[in-house]
Symmetry: C2
Subunit: 219 residues, 2 copies
C-alpha cells in the first residue's frame, strides 16, 4: 500500500501537488480544513473539484475555534485584507497562528488512523520569509514530531519545499493542470480581486503579463 494524505486547500500549490502525487500514490486522501477564512467558500468548491478530478478521497474538517479564538485579517472575524505586494510588512496581518502545525497534526492523526504513512503539504520557498510554519525547518521538525508521536511513524513531506511559486506553476503546466480550478484571492469575492498580495503573487507565478494566466480578475 502506497497511500498519502494531502492538505488540499483549493489553491494552486496544493492543486499542483495533488496532480504531482496522482502518479506516485495508489490512494490519495485530500483533507480540506475550514477554519473560517474569508475565502473559505471559494477554496472549498475548488478543493472539491480537484479531489473529484484526481480521484482522491475528500474530507472536510471544520475548525470553528480558529475564527473564534485567533486574530487574523484572513478570518471572517478579522479586519480588511491588505492590498499590495506579498511582503512581510504588508501581509503580516493575514498570518493565522501555527495554522500549518494544526492542520498537519490533524492530518498525521488521520493518517495513523487509516494506516497511511505519508502526509503531503504544498509549502514552498516563496512563503518562507512570511509564514514561519511554511519553512523547511518547520516541516522537518513537524515530521519528526509525527514520527515520534505515532505508532506507525507517519512522515510529513513538502515536495515543493525548496521551490518558488513559479516553479510550481511550471510543474503544473507540464502535468496539464487546469489552474482555473484553483482559488488564491484572500478576499473571497465572486472573482479574484487582482490586487491583494496573493492575487499579485498568483499573477506573477502564472505569467499573467504574458497572457498565460487563465484566471479572471476584477482588475
Amino acid at each position: 500500500m502506497n497511500d498519502a494524505v494531502i492538505l488540499l486547500s483549493g489553491g494552486m500549490d496544493s492543486g499542483v501537488l495533488l496532480a504531482w502525487a496522482r502518479a506516485r500514490f495508489d490512494t490519495i486522501h485530500g483533507l480540506y480544513f475550514d477554519y473560517g477564512s474569508k475565502h473559505q467558500e471559494k477554496e472549498f468548491s475548488m478543493a472539491q473539484i480537484l479531489a473529484s478530478h484526481y480521484e482522491a478521497a475528500f474530507t472536510r474538517i471544520d475548525l470553528p475555534f480558529i475564527n473564534t479564538l485567533f486574530s487574523s485579517s484572513l478570518l471572517l472575524s478579522g479586519g480588511d485584507i491588505p492590498e499590495g505586494p506579498y511582503e512581510l510588512d504588508n501581509i503580516s496581518s493575514t498570518v493565522v497562528p501555527f495554522r500549518n502545525g494544526i492542520m498537519l497534526s490533524i492530518a498525521a492523526g488521520y493518517a495513523e488512523n487509516h494506516g497511511i504513512k505519508t502526509v503531503l503539504i504544498a509549502s514552498h520557498g516563496g512563503d518562507h520569509l512570511i509564514y514561519p510554519d511554511c519553512t523547511t525547518g518547520f516541516t522537518q521538525a513537524m515530521s519528526k514530531a509525527a514520527g515520534e508521536g505515532t505508532f506507525t511513524g507517519v512522515t510529513i513531506e513538502a515536495p515543493f519545499g525548496s521551490l518558488g511559486k513559479k516553479d510550481i506553476a511550471l510543474i503544473g503546466r507540464d502535468l496539464g493542470f487546469d489552474f482555473s480550478t484553483t482559488w488564491s484571492c484572500y478576499k473571497g469575492l465572486d472573482l479574484h480581486c487582482g490586487r491583494c498580495a496573493t492575487c499579485l503573487e498568483r499573477k506573477a507565478a502564472l505569467d499573467h503579463d504574458r497572457g498565460l494566466d487563465p484566471t479572471e480578475y476584477m482588475t
Copy 2:
C-alpha cells in the same frame, strides 16, 4: 510577562501540573479539549473546577471531527472500554491517534496569538510505553516544531516528563492538591468504575490500598 498555556483535561496529572504552575507563572490559560470521549462530561466539570480554584483563564475547544473520523474505544463512537491492567496489549484500543500532537499544536497557535511563550503538558513516564505522543522524544520534537513554526518561538514543556504517576501524586500532596476534583475513569459513569485500566492506575498512584485515595469508586 511570564504566562503559560496548559492542557487541562480535568485528570489528576494536569490538575497537579496546574497547581505546580500556579506559583511559577503570572497568568495561566487552561485549554480543555472536547474530542468526543466517553468521559468528556466528567472531565469537563473537573477542569472547570480546577481552573476556577487556581484562577486560570479557561477555554473549551471542541474537536468534533475526532469522534467522527478517528477510531478509538475512548470515543463515544468507539467500542467498550477494556477492563484490567494499564498495559499496551490491554488498552491499545483506547489510543486516539496523535491526540497530544493535535492539542499541542492548537495550544501553540493559541499561545502565539496571545503573546505567550510557554505551553505546558502533563505527559509523564508512566504513559511512555503505551502512548507514543506522551514520550519525551515526542514532546521535544513538538516543541522544536512549535518554535520553528511561530514568530514568537513558542516552547512546549512537560515538567513531569521523566516522573511516574505516583511521583505526581506526591507533588500534589505537597501542594495540598484536592484529588477529588479530578476525573480519570474512561467510562464516564456517575462514579469512577474502579476496574478499567486508568482507575487501577489512579488507585495505585493515590495509594488506594493504604486509604489515602479520596476517590469514590463503584468497586
